[in-house]
C-alpha cells in the first residue's frame, strides 16, 4: 500500500468556504462511523466542523427499508461554523431508501454518490420507487456518481482471508475513501484509527484500509468527478481543542465541577434516549471516584441523587422529557429540602413517547412549572455542543453555592451533535464554594440562611452535634421542625422564590450580539443558537440592523432584559415549540410585543427558513 494521498494534479482544484455532506445508509451500514471519521479528519486537518447525526429509533430495522435509514451530516468550513448546514453539497447514499429520504435536502447541482449494487428491484420496491431513479431522469438536476461500490469493494478484498459479510461491510470505507479524495483530505487519521480499533484483527484492518484506498483511487480516476475541492483551514485552529458531542461535554462539565468543588460526583440515572450517553460516559470514570448509579427507574434515579446530595456529593440526574415528568415530585422534594441537585433534560420530541430520537424545545414549561405547589427552580440551557460543558459546570456551581435544584436544558440536536470544544483545564475554571459544613458549629439551625444568597448551610450526616431532620413537610423558618403555621408557610414560599430570584445577581447580564439597537431583535434560547447566529450574521452582512439575544439563563432571567429589548423596533422569539419561551417572556415582560417563529418537526432550524422569516419582519 504505497498510495500517496494527494491530488496528483490530473484534475483541477476548487476552493470553497464551506461544504455540507451527508452520509446515509441502512442503520447497519456504519454511516455514523463514516461520518465521525470524516469529521475528525477534517477537524484535525484544520477545518471548523459541526455535525448532526440523524438516526432511526429502530436498532436494526429491516434492510433497505425507509424507516431504517440512518444518516450523519457534517458541515466543514474555512471559517467559523455554527450549524451542520441546511442544504447538502454532497449526498452519499448507500441504497435507494437512503436516496429517497434525503434527496430533497440536496442543493440543485449538488453531487450524489450512490452504490449502484444496492439498486436492486427488491430494494427499489422497499424504498417505494416505481422506477429506478438512476435511469428515469428524475435526478437530472444533480451530478450523479454511480459506483458499484459493493462489488468493487469485494473485488478489491478478494485475497484477504475474511468472511464475505465482512468484505461487504467494508464498503463504507470505500465510500469514505472517495469523499476524502473529493475534498483533498488525507485519510491518515482514519488509517490510524482502524489500526488501533482492530489491533487484534489484522485482516480487518487490512480490509478496511484496502477499501479506503481503493475508494480514493477510484475517485481520482473517475471521469464523472471533474474537480476536487479544498476547504481551507479555519483560523481558530491555533488552540487546543477536542471534537465533542453535547452529551460528552455535559458529562465532562460535571467532572470538572466536582473536582473544582472538592466533591465527588454522583449520578443517579435511568437509560432514556437521547440522554443515555451522559450516563454511559460518566460510567467510565471510576478512577475519578464518580458513582454512576443506574437505578431501577427515573424516580429512583433522582431519589438516589437526593440521598447522595444529602450525604455530601455533587449529585446529578440525567433524563429526557418523559423521565422529567416522572421526576417532578422528587424535584419538588429537593426544592423543599433546599439541597444542591442538577437535573439534566436532553429534550426530545413530545408529548408522551413522542419522537425519541428527534429534537425539540418543548419541555421548557415542564421544567419551569411542572410541579405541585409554589416550587421554583433555577433553569439554564446550553446553546451548543461545546457550550454544554460550560453550562454543566455553571449549573453545578449554582446548585452548590445557592443550595437549590437546577434544571439544565439541552436537546437531542446538541446532545448528539458535535463541534470543536476548546479544552479547559481546572485552572481555567472559576472556583466553586458550597456552604458545606464538616465540623461542629455552635448556635446553628438547619434553615439559617446566608444573607446574600439566602442559601442554607449544607450539613452532612457524620458531623457530630449537628444531627437534624429535613423533609418534604413545610418547616419552621429557623429550626426546620414541621410547621403548619399559616404565616410561616407564606414566608417560606416567598423566601424559596427569593432565593431563586437572587441567582440573577450572580449570572452574566444579557448582552445582545451584532447590534445593541436596531430594527429587529431575534430572541432564542438553548440549542438553536448556531442557526440563529448564522441567520442573524447573514442579515447583518446584507446591511440589516438585526440583533441576537440568546438566553443561557432562563429562570431567573438575567438582568438587562428590559434594557436590551427596548432598543429594538421589533422582537421575534424563535424556538422549536409552540412559543413556550415567548410566553414566559410575556409573563415577565408584558411591556413588549413578541413575534414568534416556531417549528415543531423534530428537526433543528435551517438558516434559510430563519432568514426568510426574519426578512418578512424587516419589510
Amino acid at each position: 500500500m504505497t498510495t500517496e494521498f494527494k491530488n496528483n494534479g490530473n484534475k483541477p482544484v476548487k476552493h470553497l468556504d464551506q461544504v455540507t455532506i451527508r452520509f446515509v445508509g441502512d442503520s447497519g451500514d456504519g454511516m455514523q462511523l463514516t461520518g465521525t471519521q470524516f469529521t475528525t479528519s477534517a477537524a484535525l486537518l484544520g477545518n471548523d466542523v459541526f455535525t448532526f447525526p440523524n438516526y432511526p429509533s429502530e436498532i436494526r430495522a429491516p434492510q433497505g427499508s425507509l424507516y431504517g435509514v440512518s444518516g450523519f451530516q457534517v458541515q466543514i468550513g474555512a471559517k467559523n461554523i455554527d450549524t451542520p448546514g441546511d442544504k447538502l453539497d454532497l449526498l452519499v447514499a448507500m441504497n435507494p431508501a437512503a436516496l429517497k429520504k434525503n434527496i430533497k435536502d440536496l442543493k440543485k447541482g449538488g453531487m450524489i454518490i450512490v452504490d449502484t449494487d444496492a439498486f436492486t428491484k427488491s430494494n427499489l420496491q422497499k424504498a417505494k420507487y416505481e422506477s429506478n431513479p438512476l435511469e428515469d431522469g428524475s435526478l437530472k438536476d444533480y451530478i450523479v456518481v454511480q459506483v458499484p461500490m459493493t462489488s468493487l469493494t469485494r473485488e478489491a478484498l478478494k485475497d484477504i482471508p475474511i468472511d464475505s459479510k465482512s468484505k461487504t461491510r467494508s464498503k463504507n470505507m470505500f465510500a469514505l475513501g472517495m469523499v476524502y479524495w473529493l475534498y483533498g483530505k488525507d485519510p491518515k487519521y482514519t488509517i490510524e484509527f482502524l489500526r488501533k480499533k482492530f489491533k487484534n484483527k489484522p485482516e480487518i484492518v487490512e480490509a478496511n484500509i484496502k477499501a479506503l484506498t481503493t475508494g480514493w483511487n477510484y475517485a481520482e480516476t473517475l471521469e464523472l468527478i471533474p474537480v476536487s475541492y479544498i476547504v481551507d483551514e479555519a483560523p481558530h485552529h491555533a488552540v487546543d481543542y477536542k471534537i465533542i458531542t453535547g452529551n460528552t461535554a455535559t458529562a465532562w462539565g460535571f467532572l470538572a465541577a466536582a473536582e473544582k468543588a472538592g466533591l465527588k460526583l454522583f449520578l443517579g440515572s435511568y437509560p432514556i434516549t437521547p440522554a443515555t450517553d451522559i450516563l454511559q460516559e460518566l460510567s467510565k470514570y471510576r478512577a475519578l471516584d464518580v458513582i454512576a448509579f443506574q437505578a431501577e427507574d427515573e424516580i429512583a434515579g433522582i431519589s438516589s441523587a437526593i440521598g447522595a446530595s444529602f450525604a455530601g456529593k455533587l449529585a446529578i440526574t440525567t433524563t429526557s422529557g418523559p423521565g422529567l415528568a416522572l421526576k417532578s415530585e422528587a424535584i419538588g422534594l429537593a426544592v423543599m429540602l433546599e439541597i444542591p441537585l442538577v437535573i439534566v433534560d436532553v429534550q426530545r420530541g413530545g408529548p408522551s413517547t413522542g419522537l425519541p430520537t428527534k429534537t425539540e424545545q418543548a419541555d421548557l414549561m415542564q421544567a419551569l412549572f411542572g410541579r405541585n405547589g409554589e416550587s421554583p427552580v433555577v433553569v439554564v440551557a446550553a446553546k451548543s455542543p461545546a457550550d454544554a460543558f460550560t453550562m454543566a459546570f455553571e449549573a453545578s456551581k449554582i446548585a452548590l453555592e445557592h443550595m437549590t435544584p437546577i434544571l439544565l436544558m439541552t436537546d437531542g440536536y446538541i446532545g448528539n451533535g458535535s463541534e470543536p470544544w476548546t479544552v479547559k483545564r481546572l485552572k481555567d475554571l472559576p472556583e466553586i464554594k458550597p456552604p458545606l459544613v464538616t465540623e461542629t458549629i455552635e448556635n446553628w439551625h438547619p434553615y439559617d440562611r446566608d444573607p446574600d444568597t439566602l442559601a442554607r448551610k449544607w450539613v452532612i450526616p457524620g458531623v457530630p452535634g449537628m444531627e437534624h431532620v429535613i423533609g418534604g413537610l413545610e418547616k419552621d423558618k429557623v429550626t426546620g421542625a414541621i410547621s403548619y403555621e399559616p404565616e410561616n408557610h407564606e414566608y417560606m414560599v416567598k423566601i424559596r422564590q427569593e432565593k431563586v430570584d437572587r441567582v440573577a445577581n450572580y449570572i452574566p447580564k444579557l448582552t445582545p450580539e451584532f447590534n445593541d439597537e436596531g430594527d429587529l431583535l431575534v430572541v432564542g434560547w438553548g440549542g438553536t443558537y448556531g442557526a440563529l447566529r448564522t441567520a442573524v450574521a447573514q442579515l447583518n452582512e446584507e446591511g440589516k440592523k438585526v440583533g441576537l439575544a440568546h438566553f443561557n439563563y432562563i429562570n431567573p432571567l438575567p438582568h438587562g432584559v428590559k434594557d436590551v429589548f427596548s432598543r429594538f423596533k421589533k422582537i421575534i422569539v424563535a424556538e422549536l415549540n409552540m412559543g413556550q419561551f415567548a410566553n414566559f417572556l410575556r409573563m415577565n415582560h408584558q411591556e413588549f410585543k413578541y413575534e414568534q417563529y416556531n417549528k415543531i418537526q423534530g428537526l433543528p432550524f435551517t438558516v434559510e427558513e430563519l432568514v426568510n422569516a426574519f426578512k418578512k419582519l424587516l419589510k
Binding site: K242, W252, A287, S304, G307, A308, G312, R425, H468, G471
Partner: protein
Amino acid sequence: MTTKIKYTFKDFQSDQEVRWCPGCDDYVILRSVQKALPLIDLPKEKFVFVSGIGCSSRFPYYMANYGLHGIHGRAAAIATGVRLANPDLSVFVMTGDGDSLAIGGNHFIHALRRDINLNIILFNNEIYGLTKGQFSPTSRIGQKTKTSPYGNTQPPFNPGELAIGAEARFFARVAGNDAKHQTEIYVQAHHFEGTALVEVLQNCVIFNDGAYKFWTDKSVRDEHTVYVEHGKPMIFGKNRDKGLILDGLELKEVTIGENGITEDDILVHDAHNPDPTLHLMLVRMKNPLVMGVIRSVKEKTLEEREAELTEHVKAISKIKSFDDLVS
C-alpha cells in the same frame, strides 16, 4: 476523632412531640430502636433514618439523629443514594406496607436485589393509616376497609415471600408489641452486611385493631408462634413441647413425646443456607407463625463490589484528575 460515648435510649430521643395515636405499636417500635442503638458501637451522628410517607414515616422526626423524611415510596431509593455516597453511615429505612409494597414496590425489590447495606424496618399494619383506613397490599381478602366496604377482593402480598423472591439475604419478622425481641433483631439487622428487612407486625389501633392478636396476644402467642434462631431446633409452645419437622415437602407441627418424636427429630433452623426453599416455607407458614431471623445469608454487598471495582480501575487507570482526561 470520634470519642467513645456510652449512650442510653434517651440520647436518641428528639425534642419533637410524638404524634402517633395512643396505643399504637409505633411507640414500641420507636422505643425498641432507641434501645437498640446504644447496643451498637457507633457514634450517634453516623446513623441516618430515611423514610417515605405514612404513619411509619414520621419516625425520623422522633429520633435525635440525621434524618430525611422523603416522598411516598421512595425511601429505599433515597437511602440507596445516601449509602452509596457514604458507606460509613448506618442507614435505616422506616417504611410501611403502603409505602414500600404499593407505591414504592419497585425501589423495595431492587434494594433487596442489590443487597446494599440498608436496614429496612417495614411497619406492616395491613391498612393505610395516615389516609384513614383504606386497604393496603397486605390487607386480607374480605377485609372491610373504607375502600372495600363489602370486603377486599385483592389478594395480599406476604412481605417475606416477596422479599425472598426479590433475592433478599436477610429477612426477620417481629411482633409490634414485643419490645425486647425487636431490640435484639434491630441490632442484628444493623450488623448484617447487606439489605436487612425486618417485618414488624404492627397493630393499628384505629383502623385495623386486632389484626395480629391470634399471634401476638399474650394468652395465645406461645402456642401460635415459633421464635427461630440459627442453629437451634424450632421448638415452641408454653411447655416447649411443640416443634417443626419436615415431612416430605411440607413443614409439620409435632408434639415432642408423642408418636415417638424426640427433641432430636425437630428441625434445626439454618438461616445461613443460601437455598431459600425452606426459608420460603417458614415465611409462608401461618400457624404457627414464624418469628425471628428466618434468613440471613451473607454475600458480597453492593458497596463491597463497587469499592473493589473502583479500586481495580484506579490501579490500572492513568486518569487521576480531570486535567488528565482532557490532556
